[in-house]
């Protein structure tokens, strides 16, 4: 307990504010006094100080003005200290070097300058900005106004890799030295933005637009969870095997997104001795038969007045039946007398919904795969012909 408390205290004591913006634009230890507004008021153009900006092709280029550029106007004299006081610009000495950690982006200033895009289009009206110099960096929303995927002189590619750093396989580099890059809230479904439960609730987005996922994730990452080899400990917490039956019957979460009932589930249930012995496949771990997994009345001849009857349960959770049973279990009682396979329906109980023969479901299935009808009906069964 003491160790747990110590762990909690240690983690919570180092709480930090983090966000995608600080990952892209690392927080810089700027200790500088600077007013863009006062410089603009004196008619100083952007490229007077940022003289390398218009020709820069990389975001890693240091575009901050050098002391030499400042010295054009400011009397800097390190030797005699006869000029302006250092504190005019520097907040404390020794002055830290600025811009040590570059933005985690790919950016070509020259390409933008060649399109005659003014600095203020991205950096805003700095003539009114008296805040810290880094505050004028553009946000992704601003970029997307032009990078919208449309064609034309004022439009540009909307591909993420246009600006974001990528790995060799074309996916975005998310493990940045400044932190982990995650989508902004607006880009994620359910507004969770890779939030606290996104790992367990991303199905809606992945099923509908998996291209968004593969922007950053390789397919193998999907399979690392979805192939059911390793139990993700955060998804299936402690003692999950003991209680998985509740989730399976409710299908919450969707078991089939990682596990196939007729291989993963059935294979394990067979071996552990919880399957139906009538399938003829003996379990590896007896005793089977002394232990029942269904309540009384489960397989009574009539379902009426018995809410625990398997007919009702199968309607609600047929998937879970398939995790323990083969079709033979069902056919033993439900097959038609004309059946030539299996036990030929000793109880002859129709498993079909009411009015099956007149339903579109019946016709669709019979016209596309009549084999399934012949699992329980003989080839010359007149009942089959009614559906066709």
């Amino acid at each position: 307990m003491r160790a747990t408390l110590l762990l909690l205290a240690l983690v919570t004591s180092t709480v930090a504010r983090a966000g995608s913006a600080s990952v892209i634009y690392p927080t810089r230890g700027e200790r500088l006094r600077f007013s863009h507004a006062s410089h603009a008021a004196r008619g100083v153009a952007c490229d007077f100080c940022h003289e390398r900006a218009a020709s820069s092709r990389k975001a890693t280029d240091d575009l901050l003005p050098s002391e030499e550029a400042c010295a054009t106007c400011h009397r800097v004299d390190r030797k005699t200290a006869a000029g302006e006081p250092c504190a005019t610009c520097h907040l404390g000495l020794p002055a830290p070097r600025l811009g040590e950690t570059p933005p985690q982006l790919r950016f070509d200033h020259r390409a933008h300058a060649e399109r005659a895009i003014p600095c203020a289009r991205c950096h805003g009206d700095v003539t009114r900005a008296d805040g810290r110099p880094g505050a004028a960096l553009p946000t992704m929303d601003l970029c997307l106004h032009c990078h919208d995927g449309r064609r034309g002189p004022t439009h540009a590619s909307a591909r993420c890799a246009t600006c974001h750093l990528t790995r060799a396989d074309g996916t975005l580099e998310t493990a940045l030295p400044t932190g982990t890059l995650v989508p902004r809230r607006e880009l994620a479904v359910g507004a969770a933005a890779h939030g606290a439960d996104f790992r367990t609730h991303h199905a809606a987005q992945a099923r509908q637009d998996d291209r968004a996922c593969t922007t950053c994730h390789r397919r193998s990452e999907c399979l690392s969870c979805h192939d059911g080899v390793v139990k993700p400990l955060d998804f299936h917490g402690g003692d999950y095997v003991s209680r998985h039956g509740i989730d399976a019957r409710r299908n919450q979460p969707d078991c089939a997104s990682c596990h196939r009932g007729q291989s993963f589930c059935l294979g394990c249930h067979q071996r552990l001795g919880v399957v139906d012995a009538r399938s003829g496949v003996a379990p590896a771990f007896p005793p089977l038969g002394t232990r029942r997994f269904h309540p009384d009345g489960w397989s009574d001849a009539r379902a009426a007045a018995n809410p625990a009857h398997h007919a009702w349960q199968a309607q609600r959770a047929l998937r879970t039946c398939a995790s323990c049973h083969r079709e033979e279990s069902c056919m033993e009682c439900h097959a038609a007398p004309t059946s030539t396979t299996g036990a030929a329906g000793k109880m002859q109980v129709s498993p079909h919904p009411p009015d099956w023969e007149q339903s579109g479901r019946c016709r669709a299935l019979a016209s596309r795969n009549a084999r399934v009808c012949l699992r329980c009906h003989g080839a010359d069964d007149p009942l089959v012909d009614r559906c066709r």
């Binding site: 930090a16 291989s263 609600r316 083969r326």
Partner: protein, 498 residues
């Protein structure tokens, strides 16, 4: 030295000593060892030990580059292979073979799987993508794979056309994976001569077409159709020569409105084989400030392959209403979820006097808090559910602490304590359905050189049936990237911890 040896030596030296030009190469090898205990039908504990080795190889960016060396978005060729070997050890043995039945292959003592292997050309003439070989499709609300050819053409009309065809991967071939097999016909253990046994290994040709929105930042939409069928193995009198395994049409759409603050989505899948709606999703999320809310409706019906009699049983869909709230400010995230699920039910053809009983609803809620710090995080999750299926409620306290190094490298410690109460009320009489369970998990992860990850995790559980149930997992993931875009290592994915 013989000419053959000379050629081999030159090839070896060239392969080892040469600098990679014109392509990038990724090798990702993962080894997972697991040992755990499962409670058998007679309440004894069964030991299961598994060894899984995955190997992914990718050669990419075989194509033109710009002046800075970056691959252009046209005429890029790549090769990708992912294979896996699984071994079963300890008591979790093969099932005894029964005469008159096909061998059980649901769990194999040793299994080699080829999860995918394809060659791809992207941006052919700037608009065509081709993929040939075993490939994965996340489509039609499911995960599928096939051996064949997939083609995508992007048109100037903000539309892209897709088509694909080949043989579906069903787990029946020697290096198939049952991962992609639709439920229905069991993989082994079927009576020989019966249709299930004859269709176990039947080839399954599959074709599909799709049209999707392309280059529209505010809309992702896709309409797709897929059909898979199979010949009848050793057909008997009256049996058709062919049968459809699955035939579906699906439509999905997702909007991104108000700069992403409003996201509506819709998805549906109609089963042409079974003549009914199989999946339906519709939802809306809205973000304002640090808050976001979402509401969603889901309909889901059980589906099986076309040879399964479960298609004609009365399996009903369930309806699900979900709501969520998220709050995120700085390093703090808070969330809450709720759901109400209504399971279907109808009268029986065999017993018209019987009507579906009540109790077909399930409902629940969950919530959590996560606080991140420079060296890790703590999170607390709680949930409670009741209704059809059973009752459960629990608390989950988890945390991570970085012991050494800087992200992504370093050593981290993960821990989780779980308390769960659950009552599985459909168990046989005489068994008390309710129990309490306590689980503890502890894991250590060491990442070094940005690409090598070593993870060990141990889990210990206590409940009414067992005083000690142990799970042990060790994972070694090695990912190398070598190429013209920069030599180095990339970090692998996977493992028990996020």
């Amino acid at each position: 030295m013989s000419p053959t040896r000379l050629v081999a030596a030159v090839t070896l030296v060239a392969a080892i000593g040469g600098t990679a030009h014109g392509y990038d190469f990724i090798l990702d090898a993962t080894t997972v060892g697991q040992a755990y205990q499962l409670r058998a039908g007679d309440d004894t504990l069964v030991n299961r030990r598994r060894l899984t080795q995955s190997l992914a190889l990718e050669i990419m960016n075989l194509g033109p580059r710009d002046a800075t060396g970056r691959p252009l978005q046209r005429n890029q060729v790549s090769l990708s292979v992912l294979m896996r070997f699984s071994g079963e050890l300890a008591d979790f043995a093969d099932l005894p073979a029964f005469s008159g039945r096909t061998p059980d292959r649901s769990v194999a003592r040793e299994r080699l799987e080829l999860l995918w292997a394809y060659a791809a050309v992207e941006g052919l003439a700037g608009v065509v993508d081709l993929r040939l070989g075993r490939q994965l499709r996340v489509d039609l609300f499911d995960l599928r794979a096939f051996d064949g050819l997939g083609v995508e053409v992007r048109t100037p009309l903000y539309l892209a056309l897709e088509t694909w065809g080949g043989l579906a991967v069903s787990g029946a071939a020697p290096i198939d994976s049952p991962l992609y097999r639709a439920d229905g016909i069991a993989l082994g253990g079927n009576l020989r001569g019966g249709l299930a046994a004859r269709q176990e290994e039947a080839l399954q040709p599959t074709v599909g077409v799709a049209v999707r929105a392309d280059r529209l930042p505010w809309l992702a939409a896709r309409l797709s159709y897929q059909r898979t069928w199979s010949p009848t193995g050793d057909p008997r009198p009256g049996e058709p020569a062919w049968g459809t395994i699955e035939e579906r049409v699906a439509l999905t759409a997702r909007g991104r409105l108000l700069d992403g603050r409003l996201v509506p989505w819709f998805g549906m899948r109609w089963g042409l084989l079974v003549g009914r709606l199989e999946e339906l999703q519709a939802g809306l999320s809205a973000a304002f400030g640090d808050h976001a809310v979402s509401a969603e409706y889901v309909l889901s019906a059980p589906t099986f392959d076309g040879d399964s009699i479960w298609n004609v049983f009365g399996g009903d869909a369930f309806d699900d209403a979900r709501a969520g709230w998220d709050f995120a400010r700085g390093a703090v995230r808070v969330w809450a979820r709720a759901f109400l699920r209504r399971f279907g039910g109808h009268a029986l053809a065999s017993d018209p006097t019987a009507t579906a009983p009540g109790g077909g609803e399930a409902y629940g809620g969950a919530g959590g808090l996560r606080v991140a710090g420079r060296r890790g995080f703590v999170r607390l999750d709680g949930y409670v559910e009741s209704g059809f299926g059973g009752r459960k409620g629990g608390l989950d306290l988890a945390g991570r602490l970085r012991l050494a190094g800087r992200d992504p490298d370093g050593v981290t410690l993960d821990g989780r304590a779980s308390y769960v109460f659950f009552a599985d009320e459909r168990l046989a009489p005489g068994r008390d359905p309710a129990t309490h369970s306590l689980g503890l998990q502890l894991g250590l992860r060491w990442v070094f050189l940005r690409g090598i990850t070593f993870t060990v995790a141990v889990e210990e559980n206590v409940n009414r049936w067992v005083t000690s149930q142990t799970r042990l997992m060790a994972l070694l993931d090695v990912s190398f990237l070598v190429g013209t875009t920069g030599r180095g290592l990339v970090r692998g994915a996977g493992g028990a911890w996020p």
